[in-house]
């Protein structure tokens, strides 16, 4: 299962070709602008980056908050896409697959993850269930996790619901380490070590 291009709203009638193209461009521009300058960046800058008028941005996303939310959802969809791809690949080494996937995702998101805060700060209940993204994500992560546990690569008492919280923490540490790659890798490694089987056996 693959995310429809640019995670467009599922309910309404299909957008005109040019409209869909613009919507996608805005979403893309928003992602990079917000990543670079923080979620406080003016909407107009997103418009400029997308090469459209400010009105077009607001036509597609009637509120700045809606835009932020859409970016977040798109990102989660890509996360789910990748997770499902790894599931489908069905690696011979599920432990490696699991950790590689997590590390890859963290690498990718480390420099640009203020979305959760921006949204929660705005009082938005992060729409985990919106567009079914929550289910997909938990589903795919659950498969990866249980395979890795079955292979003895991950502690048994870890459940899927805890994973996202943990990933966010690790991503945050990585982001804080910033450009210092060695520090970042060490922090990620150490934190992930908490997921391994022997961990937590004694205390």
């Amino acid at each position: 299962m693959v995310t429809p291009a640019a995670a467009e709203p599922t309910e309404s009638k299909p957008l005109r070709a040019d409209a869909r193209r613009n919507r996608a461009r805005v979403l893309e521009a928003a992602e990079s602008v917000f990543a670079a300058k923080g979620t406080g960046a003016p909407t107009e800058e997103v418009a400029r980056a997308a090469g459209v008028g400010i009105g077009t941005v607001f036509r597609h996303f009637p509120t700045k908050e809606a835009l932020l939310e859409a970016v977040l959802i798109a990102r989660l969809h890509r996360f789910a896409d990748e997770a499902e791809a790894v599931v489908a690949a069905d690696s011979a080494d599920p432990g490696a697959a699991f950790f590689t996937f997590l590390a890859g995702w963290i690498e990718m998101s480390s420099a640009k993850n203020a979305y959760f805060e921006a949204l929660t700060a705005a009082g938005v209940t992060v729409p985990k269930e919106k567009s079914g993204i929550g289910g997909r994500l938990l589903g795919a992560l659950g498969v990866l996790l249980s395979r890795a546990q079955a292979a003895g690569a991950v502690r048994e008492d870890l459940v899927t619901g805890e994973l996202i919280t943990i990933i966010i923490g690790v991503a945050k540490a990585a982001e804080y380490a910033g450009p210092d790659a060695r520090l970042r890798d060490r922090a990620v490694t150490i934190l992930f070590d908490g997921l391994r089987p022997s961990a937590g056996e004694r205390r």
Copy 2:
């Protein structure tokens, strides 16, 4: 060693008594306002909470950024204070002392730590060295860490410099877990398990 009240600038001439009191009140108010409403809260609200005029806030902190920075530094100083207190207590169980201290800190900061982001987003290089706070912090944490390592409670390959990064990540995870105490505790436990000795021994 104990932090001078309200972390006032070390170089300038001593403030008049009322001025020092106002400075402290503003700092306190800023901490709680920013904690409650995020760092985007208007400076005027801080003034109101402190019971002073807006002009007074800007007299003490010529910029909003300066205010944010001062709050952050004050917080780090308290962090250092606590760490030094734990060092001074010289517990018989250094491992427990170490983890208890970390957990306490996380608990405290989990609900209110947008400072790092707000500052880094603003392009401020977090002033680790400013007012010597970095040194104190690393010093105290270093002692706690090496005692815990000597007692076999923490993995040997962990160095002080990595600790702050890790703490930030764990705090973030805790914050994201939000009001769900069980989830928060689990995430913190799991992530801290990565600091334990057996962790990382095999891979």
Copy 3:
């Protein structure tokens, strides 16, 4: 004489059937939307109410102002239609006919008459003469008025030109009274009493 459907422009070539239908639907929708939400309502809402695209609205009325004007003219045409119908009915009690007609009109327009203001505010000289509506209106009102005067039901010194001004004032008072029917009726009654013969005889 009866108003041609939807008061379409008299000069231009006859519209295609569907176009004429659309024009009428837009005009109707505009009337009810502007009545309900005021003349500041977005043109797009008119389009939605008419079940056509926004482009269609602007094709028929190149300007919002033109749309407003068309609505006003249509309304005046209906006013004239009714007046002419009353003239044609040639009631045995011309005084009653006159006042009944006025009251009916006031009743109808009381809740929805921002057109004059919207237009005059926009600097439009209300196009009394446009499409000959002024003539029809004054003609019909003149007949009703003089019959009522001949019957001794209306003061002799009242001339047609004053009537519209007076009607607007009374309608305004009625509108201001709003939902309070008793108050509205009293105000209308009192103001209309000024039109009766004994009024103004002494001063």
Copy 4:
């Protein structure tokens, strides 16, 4: 009893001298700007006319609606002031006093009375009671009215509550007559004739 300068809010502590001056200037500017260009005129134009920054306007009136309301209330206060002055003058000819007062007020407001509409259109319940203006107004009008009735100059069945509605209607008619002074006077005269004693005696 005379309105405090510029109808400043009664509750809060007295404003600083300069602030009060600015508040009054803004109110004055708002009145003339809205009168000239309608209540849709941009707030910035009011600021310009008052010779202050846009921020100052919003400091005193946190919303455009609040500004409109303040203008309306100021105007009503002046209405009440004048009415009370006429009451105090205690003319020997109460009928003339009554009609002269009404005519004067209408003359004054005829060219600039979109406030009621602007406010009611915005869904504002016209704050008749706010700042006690309703009471003052009705009180003074009531005295003028009953004196005129006692003198036999005004019909007996007219009650104070109806008067404001009627005045609004007459003012509206006068406004519509616009620059044509003869037409305006005639309309006002005719409508006011409805208030005289013989009117309504027969029907």
